[in-house]
């Protein structure tokens, strides 16, 4: 397969055809922040934090690097006033829901985000979908799903599946950027999985 040559932050970068800008950047040691990305999963494009400025055939646009395919001659800027503004606002929006999440706190520091810009409504989950997708794509169990849409969207365990599968797995816990998942599981478990709960679960990350 022919290699693609593009420019990221002034640096010439070579990537395989079909790779994404994020892949190419990471390979070249250029950092782009992400919240919903995990190598073992299909790219999702939900958090939009990995947005970069791209210039192709004289046209500047803002694209999510985790999904945007590399192309020859593409010029990518991973930081710019507008990129930073997008990231800052996304962080501020998420901090209304998970103000103490360590990953968000670190990002807020880097991008000068104000955690109090929007009124707090802590629901802790930032709906990155890592748990849901890990369970579906890697474990192929579909024990977690999204319910509701828009601001009503939330993750939910499917009791019939979770009662069988989750106690011995919990591989999704460490993926959660806010640790909400673990708390949710323990809560759901205590309420729903009565038979399985006979065997106490140690809360481990």
């Amino acid at each position: 397969m022919t290699d693609i040559v593009l420019n990221i932050d002034g640096k010439e970068v070579t990537a395989a055809a079909g790779a994404t800008v994020l892949d190419a950047a990471r390979q070249a040691g250029i950092h782009i922040p992400t919240l919903c990305h995990f190598e073992k999963l299909e790219a999702y494009g939900g958090c939009r934090l990995c947005m970069v400025e791209s210039e192709s055939r004289g046209k500047t646009s803002y694209v999510v690097s985790c999904l945007y395919p590399v192309e020859n001659g593409l010029v990518v800027r991973t930081r710019s006033a507008k990129v930073d503004k997008i990231r800052r606002l996304i962080i501020e929006e998420l901090m209304a829901h998970a103000p103490e999440a360590p990953e968000l706190v670190a990002l807020a520091r880097e991008y000068g985000a104000d955690k109090d810009r929007f009124e707090k409504e802590p629901i802790y989950c930032i709906l990155c979908g890592l748990c849901e997708r890990y369970c579906a794509e890697v474990k192929q169990k579909n024990a977690i799903g999204f319910v509701g849409n828009g601001p009503e969207r939330e993750i939910s365990f499917v009791p019939e599946i979770a009662a069988k599968e989750c106690n011995d797995c919990k591989e999704c816990f460490p993926l959660c950027p806010t640790s909400y998942l673990q708390a949710a599981f323990v809560l759901v478990e205590s309420l729903t999985f009565a038979p399985a709960a006979a065997e106490p679960v140690a809360a481990q990350g």
Partner: protein
């Protein structure tokens, strides 16, 4: 009915149908479009049926229950052919009078149009102000068709365009005609349909799909369902012609699950089209085959977004996906999929029949043909209107629409539903043109036009529209889900008198990031109404924040 095996068989069937009909015989067309149906026009139709039976007039007077005529404001609508005498607000009690007058070649004066100011009457369709300023190339056939009867469509030259394309044109010639006609997509973007077709046609995969987007989720838009319910065969004919040009073997019609009459008519029309051989295997003996399936939405606005719609047809949740690779190249099951909206497809047959040169003679320089517009809000005559592209908004709102209700003055004109924009009354001479309206910040969208009077509260309008969209976001991406939610909270605070001076700043950032960073068109355009407000009505927002509310009285 045996399947038609050739173009000659179609023409012979058409002659038979016409021979059985007497063009001079009176035909009473009762509108059963959504608005008239809601006004119980079926009881009017039933009354006509009984009266015709009672007077023993079968064979002397025909009765037809049809799709939407357009003048929703004055329903139930009745049009008596062949001279197209229009009766409005017809009740079952008027029926004997209308039948008697019709028999005598007279007019039942009580229900003809009367000018609200002068009292002057208008009897025929081409004299009624609402109709006479229109060019009804698409919706105009509705009164002539019982949508459940394919014969009615064949009688008015239905499927002649398909026959012409299959028997006398190559797929490339069909494509070139549509490109030359510069038919631009009627669903919102105004993207040239011919270029889109060409992309799908040239995509390497052999399996290709063509799709009708009949979702019409845009608030204040109701013309597509009038078209699809009232004249389903025109859309099917356009779709099959497109499939032939593109080389698609499979078509899909994606539409609303919650419009029973639409579903009934479409199912019947598709069954008949298959029976007669206009879709399915070896269409009209041409060797070209294309099957069409009907799919229903899942009750969420975003299932009308192209990639969301395609996920839905695949059987998945209608979550949009990024279109760095266009759906015309990689759509349903990653196959090239050409999606056009109902009105776009409906334009195809006449382009083939009458040619691109004729089509481009109608409209403005860069927007050709006519446009269906759903006219509503504080306007005297709400309804479905069809005018040439380039028609001034003044004609739409005043000549056709009869002006603003209750003698009030015009404050704003809103186009494009919840993702459109509002422009002030002084833009009344702007033209209905894709590019001109986009530049003004009120893109035509699918064609929902809302008239807003002097009492309209522009903060409430933006809040109302966002409140709708917030609930329709799928919630997958952060800027759309959270951005709209925060904008809605700020606007709600302002309308409740709790606005802060910093709010406009925060709104500015939210608008910018939501449109730049959202995954699909819903989030990208969700703040467009608000952007138009900041462009034309910012002082109203500033005053509301400064005075702590207590202003306007109504939304739309």
């Amino acid at each position: 009915m045996p399947k038609l095996e050739s173009v000659a068989a179609l023409e012979s069937l058409r002659s038979d149908i016409l021979a059985r009909r007497d063009a001079t015989r009176p035909c009473i067309a009762v509108c059963a479009g959504a608005a008239c149906d809601g006004l119980d026009s079926i009881t009017v139709a039933t009354a006509f049926k009984s009266e015709i039976a009672k007077q023993g007039l079968e064979g002397k007077v025909d009765l037809r229950v049809t799709g939407c005529h357009g003048y929703c404001e004055k329903g139930p609508n009745v049009v008596v052919g062949p001279k197209d005498v229009c009766y409005f607000e017809v009740t079952p009690e008027d029926v004997p009078g209308i039948v008697s007058a019709t028999l005598k070649g007279e007019v039942f004066e009580e229900r003809v149009y009367k000018d609200p100011q002068t009292g002057a009457k208008a009897v025929h369709m081409d004299e009624v102000p609402f109709y006479k300023h229109q060019t009804r190339l698409l919706i105009g056939d509705n009164p002539k068709i019982d949508p459940m009867k394919i014969e009615d469509y064949i009688a008015i030259d239905g499927y002649a365009a398909l026959a012409k394309a299959l028997s006398t044109m190559t797929p490339d010639e069909v494509l070139n005609e549509v490109k030359k006609a510069n038919l631009r997509g009627r669903g919102g973007g105004g993207f040239p349909a011919g270029s889109k077709w060409e992309t799908t046609k040239n995509a390497p995969e052999k399996t290709k799909y063509v799709i009708v987007n009949g979702h019409e989720g845009e608030s204040a838009a109701f013309m597509d369902r009038a078209m699809l319910t009232g004249n389903p065969h025109k859309v099917i004919e356009g779709l099959i012609i497109g499939a032939y040009a593109i080389g698609a073997q499979q078509g899909f019609i994606y539409t609303r699950h919650d419009a029973p009459r639409l579903v009934e008519h479409l199912k019947a029309a598709m069954a008949q089209a298959e029976e007669y051989g206009f879709m399915g295997e070896n269409i009209l003996g041409s060797g070209f085959s294309c099957n069409v399936e009907l799919h229903f939405d899942v009750g969420i606005f975003v299932s009308g977004e192209s990639s969301g719609l395609m996920r839905s047809i695949e059987g998945n949740a209608p979550e949009p996906r990024p279109k760095y690779i266009r759906t015309s190249v990689s759509g349903i099951w990653d196959k090239p999929s050409n999606l056009n909206n109902v009105e776009t497809w409906a334009n195809v047959p006449q382009i083939i029949t009458r040619g691109a040169d004729w089509f481009t003679s109608i409209g403005s320089e860069r927007s050709k043909g006519t446009k269906l517009v759903s006219l509503s809000g504080n306007v005297v005559n709400s309804g479905i209107v069809e005018v040439p592209m380039g028609t001034p908004l003044r004609t739409l709102i005043f000549d056709i629409g009869g002006g603003v209700r209750d003698g009030k003055s015009l404050k704003a004109i809103h186009f494009g539903g919840a993702m459109g924009g509002s422009i002030p009354a002084d833009q009344i001479d702007a033209k209905l043109d894709f590019d001109e309206m986009s530049k003004l910040g009120a893109p035509i969208g699918a064609g929902g036009l809302l008239v807003m009077d002097e009492d309209t509260d522009m903060v409430e309008v933006a809040r109302y529209l966002l409140d709708f969209l917030v609930k329709e976001s799928c919630g997958k991406c952060v800027p759309c889900r959270e951005g709209m939610y925060q904008m809605l909270k700020i606007l709600t605070n302002i309308t409740e008198g709790k606005g802060k001076t910093s709010d406009l700043d925060r709104l500015g950032d939210l608008m910018e990031v939501t449109s730049a960073a959202s995954l699909c068109a819903l989030g990208k355009t969700a703040s467009d109404p608000l952007k138009s407000m900041m462009r034309y009505f910012k002082d109203e927002y500033e005053t509301r924040i400064a005075t702590g509310g207590g202003a306007g009285s109504q939304a739309i």
